[in-house]
């Protein structure tokens, strides 16, 4: 008897959920290709009750400016989004009034120079006391793939199904890359003869050469790394190059200890001032 009553409850719950799913407001992409008649029906059932197309246009304008504001504020621009809902059938007869809904989301857009395409699933479980939402699957495709630091980060985010951390770290990563690019460009402008950007300003490498001291080179490698927890940190390294003779004369092993000293310098002066002092030290003989 209990089993039968449980089955009745389970069926009633499923029916209620199916009814809700069928009455859901249509999301993007659903009304493509519908006959005009049903579109008018949709208009009539719209709670905002559009009196004219002018109202629609002005509301659309408001929404578009809200979207523009949000994408400027966050630095993340979402261009496309769609969602499908599926009510999961309840095979366990002992479940009392628990409804499970699986949502499939598709999202694409860009954050500055990086474009992303995401597909993820959210499982919503509603029981008598509470509603819980869990991301049960996450797939991320990112372009450009040249940022090798991102590949590991992306697979970690997918593994942990941590959608929010993905966007947060993406934002900070892009912020650091932009700062790096601006800094390189600034130094190139200030010291055009000494500073070289062999891979461009958007790369991770800046070379400092002095016209008066040919053969000497300071290569600064500035990587933007994302750690296990999604924290974004800059990592700078100095690779000094010198002619063989200079190395032999270097009794104080200045060149050998340069990388470590550079890191200490970074800690004291910060990135910009440390780079500036490096450039100046190599080019003291140059007249600007």
């Amino acid at each position: 008897m209990d089993a039968l009553q449980a089955e009745v409850r389970a069926l009633e719950a499923e029916i209620a959920a199916l009814r809700r799913a069928c009455e859901e407001p249509r999301t993007a992409g659903e009304d493509h290709g519908r006959a005009p008649k049903s579109l008018r029906e949709m208009y009539q059932s719209d709670s905002e009750g559009w009196a004219s197309s002018k109202d629609l246009r002005s509301h659309l304008g408001n929404l578009e400016s809200e979207l523009l504001f949000l994408s400027t504020l966050t630095g993340i621009s979402i261009r496309n989004y769609s969602m499908k809902t599926e009510v999961l059938t309840n095979t366990e007869k002992t479940e009392k009034s628990i409804t499970k809904v699986l949502q499939r989301h598709r999202l694409s857009g860009n954050c500055q120079m990086i474009t992303f395409q995401l597909e993820f699933q959210i499982l919503e479980i509603q029981d008598k006391e509470s509603l819980s939402s869990v991301i049960t699957d996450l797939n991320i495709i990112m372009e450009p793939t040249k940022y090798s630091e991102l590949r590991e980060f992306v697979s970690r985010a997918e593994e942990r199904r941590d959608l929010l951390m993905f966007f947060r770290s993406l934002h900070f990563f892009v912020e650091w890359c932009e700062y790096r690019k601006r800094t390189f460009e600034h130094f190139k402008e200030k010291y055009p003869e000494a500073v070289h950007l062999p891979e461009g300003a958007a790369s991770s490498c800046m070379v400092v050469r002095s016209a008066c001291r040919p053969g000497f080179e300071l290569v600064i490698v500035w990587r933007v790394q994302i750690d296990e927890e999604g924290k974004v940190l800059p990592k700078l390294d100095l690779l000094p190059k010198a002619p063989q003779q200079a190395l032999e004369l270097d009794r104080n092993r200045v060149l050998e200890t340069a990388p470590r000293s550079f890191r200490a310098l970074l800690g004291v002066l910060g990135i910009e001032a440390a780079l500036e002092s490096l450039i100046k030290s190599l080019c003291t003989a140059d007249s600007s």
Binding site: M1, L4, V8, L11, E12, I15, L18, A21, C22, R26, T27, A28, G29, E30, D31, H32, G33, R34, A35, P36, L39, M42, S53, L56, R57, H59, L60, L63, L67, F69, L70, L73, T74, G75, I76, I78, N80, Y81, M83, K84, V87, L107, F120, I122, S132, S133, V134, I135, T136, L138, R161, D162, L163, L164, M165, R168, H171, E175, E229, K231
Partner: protein, 296 residues
């Protein structure tokens, strides 16, 4: 069935007749009960049958709906030739924009324009579990200011606004997002420890509101004995969900054997590297075996 078995029959035939009557009454009652039960069961079965039919209908309708969506997504034109009017285009675009605005919550930051400015909604999550949201209502003026908010008092909002609000609002929001998500993650771990692993705790879990100071006593089964340990976790970096300081001390009265000392040290490592509830999941799974592969 009880038979009066006292050896003295109550006057032969009468007693026999009485007994027969009791038997008949009992069996009649049983069959009445049975009939009633069968009737109820029958009604339930009919109801189930009707509900199943209704459910199958709704399932088919839901499937049809999905198929329509799929078809329209694949750009399958219906039989009637349609003129896409400007209004339809605008309507479609409107629904699209509304959906995109709703989808921003998955980035952690979403919001709405207000008469004063903008109200930002910050969402939090941990390990795929979507948790609480918080809002910050901004007034767009010079200087930019916060009208009101739902950020908990122990999050350093004033500090973060002083640093970034006027100069780099994007950084301000993402920084706040970092703090709130880290707090939500620490809180989630502490809550899970209290609810799912209460059996391991020997006392209450002591925690502060920021959930960055945790202290608890727990016991694990080692070589057939229940060994008590005390753990103190400190999360100095408020933007992380893993502790920066961990101390595990042995709480027992017996001398600490070398193997238990090994355990104690491995526990410290575990607390540093894994979320709290995952550490206890591994305790539950390990049982008595020492699994050094987890410590690497």
């Amino acid at each position: 069935m009880e038979w009066a078995n006292d050896g003295k029959s109550k006057g032969g035939v009468l007693a026999h007749l009485e007994r027969l009557e009791i038997q008949v009454n009992r069996s009649r009652k049983n069959s009445e009960d049975l009939q009633r039960a069968q009737a109820v069961e029958g009604a339930l079965r009919t109801k189930i049958h009707k509900l199943r039919c209704l459910r199958d209908e709704l399932r088919a309708e839901a499937k049809q709906r999905q198929a329509r969506i799929k078809a329209s997504a694949a750009n399958v034109e219906p039989d009637q030739t349609l003129e896409i009017s400007e209004q339809e285009v605008a309507e479609r675009r409107r629904e699209n924009v509304k959906a995109i605005l709703r989808a921003y919550r998955f980035t952690g930051l979403s919001g709405k324009l207000t008469s004063r400015g903008f109200c930002v909604c910050i969402s939090t999550a941990f390990e795929g579990n979507l948790l609480d949201s918080y809002f910050v209502d901004l007034v767009i003026q010079k200087p930019l200011r916060i009208h009101h908010h739902s950020i908990p008092v122990f999050i350093p909002l004033e500090e973060i606004s002083a640093k970034y609000l006027q100069t780099n609002i994007q950084h301000f929001l993402f920084c706040l997002c970092e703090y709130l998500n880290a707090y939500a993650g620490r809180k989630y771990q502490a809550d899970r420890l209290q609810s799912d692993f209460a059996a391991f705790l020997a006392g209450p879990l002591r925690r502060n509101s920021l959930c960055n100071l945790l202290s608890f006593t727990y016991k694990v089964e080692l070589q057939g004995q229940s060994v008590p340990f005390c753990a103190r976790l400190r999360y100095k970096d408020l933007t992380t969900t893993l502790p920066t300081d961990v101390t595990v001390t042995y709480q027992g009265t017996d001398a600490l054997s070398p193997s238990w000392e090994e355990q104690r040290a491995s526990h410290e490592n575990l607390f540093f590297s894994k979320p709290l509830h995952q550490v206890f999941t591994s305790f539950a799974r390990k049982g008595e075996k020492l699994d050094m592969s987890l410590v690497s």
